[in-house]
């Protein structure tokens, strides 16, 4: 369908207004919300993620595509059915306590939003209590913790133990950052580990059984 393809391409090219206009047009033409979401928005961001992972495109392109995708998402969201809302898992993301590196976290947040998830970004230097409290407050499905400094990795273990203490064991924890590994993830009892932004999306989909 012409409109779906136009929106898809506009996202790849990071054209915010064209995406908004296209989605508007699609809705008016009676195209299924689910089709616009999956065939245009999500699959476009899949390609963006792939290209970024391959080093073919870079942060500015990812940011523009994500902005364009969000513009489309904002128009679609009021039309979501309950089923679509459920698939849109809610993720609390932040950089670990004591750590102020945020580029990686921002990228993961963008890619997760690109994949259709709802992301609540707490920012940097976030205490375990803050992660857990916000997860409870927002009824989040996942807590995502990022760290670049080796010493801040320990606070990730605290996020896991604290959320279990607070009886939020259904909330999954995913961790990411250059110094991390699957071994560390297992050691602290986290549910998953993303090696880069692309992988984070794949792992979150796994955690949500998607």
């Amino acid at each position: 369908m012409g409109i779906l393809e136009d929106v898809y391409n506009a996202i790849i090219e990071g054209k915010v207004e064209d995406v908004a206009a296209g989605v508007e047009q699609g809705l008016n033409a009676g195209i299924e919300v689910d089709d616009i979401l999956k065939k245009s928005l999500l699959s476009a961001m899949d390609l963006v993620g792939e290209r970024f992972g391959e080093g073919e495109i870079f942060i500015p392109q990812v940011i523009w595509s994500a902005k364009a995708m969000q513009a489309g998402m904002d128009l679609l969201r009021p039309h979501f059915s309950e089923g679509q809302r459920k698939k849109s898992a809610r993720i609390i993301i932040g950089t670990a306590q004591g750590d102020i590196h945020d580029i990686g976290k921002n990228l993961v947040g963008m890619m997760l939003e690109g994949a259709g998830f709802e992301v609540v970004d707490l920012g940097v230097d976030i205490k375990p209590e803050q992660f857990v409290e916000k997860a409870a407050e927002e009824k989040a499905d996942i807590i995502a913790v990022s760290a670049l400094l080796t010493t801040t990795m320990i606070s990730m273990a605290d996020v896991v133990s604290l959320k279990n203490e607070k009886e939020l064991s259904s909330v999954k924890v995913i961790i990411g950052g250059a110094p991390l590994s699957m071994d560390f993830c297992k050691e602290i009892g986290a549910d998953s580990f993303g090696v880069d932004a692309m992988d984070a999306v794949a792992k979150v989909k796994e955690l949500m059984d998607l």
Binding site: E54, I59, D183
Partner: protein, 293 residues
């Protein structure tokens, strides 16, 4: 008048120091505290780390002012301490610096993105670096090193800011990732492009630091060498940190790093130092390896 450092460059490979952040963590410092505050709170510790690097063979030691620009300080509410923090940092490095060696004033990224991706205007960015550079120059550094820049636009603002503050010897070092298509900043800029823009803006020396380990950096050095006739500084990481059963160690040994440093020298580096995970031991090993014929 030619800077004594540039004179020395003609005689030998200039050695820079290794990491400060990881050394502070090794000394048991609270990682939650931003490193620049330690210039006020633990001056002896900072001065001692500087001294260890000079003793190990570094010709140039970089001041503990990486996060010292007003924009970066503001993230911790410390912009009011701009002068105090930067000035103290340089004083501590100078205090440890023997005659004939050098003190570099460090300028790191602002932590912000430029419009339209982020919310900082280019003039604001430049002004922030100009303010920090002014303090460093006044405090008496021999040169300024702009480091770990991942955005060419930001690096340009930094070079422009320093140049506005003075004629001081200026090195601009970018950080590059290795992709299947070559070396690029995360923003997508390649080596020739970065070098061309920064040279034009007034940087005297070029560099690359962080992100990559010493082995991957050998190829990068060749590219950087081919892209510029200016002196180049290469500062790789000591591999990746690994944490297992509560212990953290960097996967690369000083000996491995030093062997790569020799190759980096052969690839055309005029100046060599170390970034994340390196220690005085690393610099000592590099010095010894380079001295071998």
């Amino acid at each position: 008048m030619i800077s004594p450092l540039l004179e020395k460059l003609k005689e030998k490979v200039i050695l820079f120091d290794g990491a400060m952040g990881t050394m502070l963590m090794k000394a048991g410092q609270d990682p939650i505290k931003t490193p620049i505050l330690l210039n006020l709170d633990e001056p002896d510790l900072v001065a001692d780390i500087h001294k260890q690097y000079y003793v190990a063979g570094a010709d140039v030691v970089i001041s503990n002012t990486f996060g010292g620009s007003p924009l970066k300080l503001a993230a911790d509410g410390l912009e009011g301490k701009l002068v105090e923090l930067n000035r103290e940092a340089v004083r501590l490095t100078r205090r440890s610096c023997p005659d004939g060696k050098f003190v570099a004033g460090d300028i790191g990224p602002s932590g912000k993105m430029l419009k339209p991706l982020g919310d900082v205007a280019p003039e604001e960015m430049q002004e922030s670096f100009f303010a920090q550079a002014g303090v460093l120059i006044e405090a008496g550094v021999d040169l300024i090193t702009i480091e770990t820049m991942y955005s060419l636009d930001e690096a340009l603002a930094a070079v422009q800011g320093v140049r506005k503050a003075g004629d001081i010897l200026l090195l601009a070092s970018m950080t590059y990732s290795k992709t299947k298509n070559g070396f690029f900043t995360v923003m997508g800029e390649n080596i020739p492009r970065c070098v061309s823009v920064l040279e034009e803006a007034g940087a005297d020396m070029m560099g690359a630091n962080c992100t990559l380990n010493s082995t991957d950096t050998i190829g990068l050095t060749k590219e950087l060498r081919a892209a510029t006739g200016r002196p180049i500084l290469i500062q790789p990481n000591a591999g990746k940190p690994v944490t297992s059963k509560g212990l953290t160690y960097y996967e690369q040994t000083p000996a491995e790093f030093a062997k790569d440093a020799k190759k980096i020298q052969k690839a055309g580096a005029d100046m060599i130092g170390g970034c994340c995970g390196t220690t005085p031991e690393f610099i000592q090993a590099v010095k010894e390896e380079i001295a071998k014929v």
